[in-house]
Subunit: 205 residues, 2 copies
DNA sequence: GCCCCGCATATACACTCGTATAGCACAATG
DNA sequence: CATTGTGCTATACGAGTGTATATGCGGGGC
């Protein structure tokens, strides 16, 4: 009789909980938080509606849990980038994406959608992404790889644009380009242009 | 007696219609299509619920009308950019934004949200934005302002990233930077960095 | 003067939403 | 063996959804 309210969360590895989190992440990524109902998520996860309440307390609780998971994954996935520096690190990061993006595509697309809907979780995600970019710029600066008199804050912001850009336009890529932003030919062409643009620009002064 | 179904749309300048379109645009931009109900939109517009059906036929019809309006505004707002070329044109475009963004902020924020929800209207918006960027690159190329051996397609894509980037992160800007992406200090700092990065890059080769 | 039609309102309907409650099977623990 | 608690299901409730229908008012053309 109501001895534990709110999220119980005792066992985080219950199969139903994991299925709900995965299904919610996928569906929210596709149609947004308000665009998907709990019944559809439960059906997709192969569990009953009531289980959402058991594990997450409410729909917002489910989102919070997904936000937390995705934030952790983003940190993990970009950790390797921060250990390197220079334009080579960027190409390496983009090429690494070829490995993990097929597997973690849902995480990436959820992060993309989260950036649209302003919530505490999405603000935290944004702050994390910006921190990653700032750290990359600082690492490069310490190693003397930054050109002199560069506005480091805006360099970080532009880096952020270029990293979230492909994710943002990914849903429109197939009609517009005939292939995914994360397909092999797109990745390599992007790599070539990125290195060039970051080190030399592309317009004449 | 049901002689005309669907959207009637005879008079596009009925005051109620305009109010509904404005209110829908603003609310959809803030919370997404599924996140807002017709009753709230009608209340915000100061008209009755049924008027949506009279003018737009359905909620989807309302979105279609908003999409069309926003697409036209985007075309109009970026028309001036296309007449110029070089890095100077970009700074001019960004500075022009200082004029029209306060006034057309809702249009911009709706376009931002539209890029999240994949619909025919949002695909058309994306195609339009990409076309604008491609045309800018081609204009620059014809005038000899492009560096040699530049991948023009990816130059256009990166230009697109840098133009939608500020809109995407605008909702997180105040907590993260203390000011809007479209405030005067941000615009001028961005201008300085953009010209530099586009003509010389910011990393050492 | 009548009629029709464009603009607008009010109200009802069927459905879906998130949430709440009651209960079941089963493993671990005393 | 009885008890406890966890993971889970089934079902009900009230509020809110988009859509449909019926109606009112006011101006221009026959």
């Amino acid at each position: 009789m109501a001895k534990r309210l709110e999220t119980r969360n005792g066992g985080e590895d219950a199969p139903g909980r994991r299925h709900l989190l995965d299904a919610g992440m996928r569906l929210f990524a596709e149609r947004g938080f308000a665009g998907v109902g709990l019944r559809e998520i439960a059906a997709e996860a192969g569990v009953s509606l009531g289980l959402v309440r058991t594990h997450f307390g409410s729909k917002d609780g489910l989102r919070d849990a997904i936000d937390e998971y995705v934030l952790g994954e983003i940190k993990r996935l970009y950790a390797t980038v921060l250990e390197h520096s220079g334009a080579g690190a960027l190409t390496k990061a983009v090429e690494d994406a070829l490995d993990w993006i097929p597997r973690d595509r849902v995480v990436l697309m959820y992060a993309r959608m989260a950036l649209m809907e302003k919530t505490p979780g999405s603000q935290a995600l944004f702050d994390q992404l910006l921190a990653i970019m700032r750290q990359f710029i600082e690492t490069n600066a310490k190693r003397g790889l930054l050109q002199p008199d560069v506005d480091r804050e805006w360099a970080a912001i532009y880096l952020l644009f270029d990293f979230i850009g492909p994710a943002i336009i990914e849903p429109f890529a197939k009609p517009a380009f005939g292939k995914s932003m994360y397909s092999k030919p797109m990745i390599s062409a992007r790599n070539a242009f990125m290195v060039r643009a970051f080190t030399r620009g592309f317009l004449k002064g």
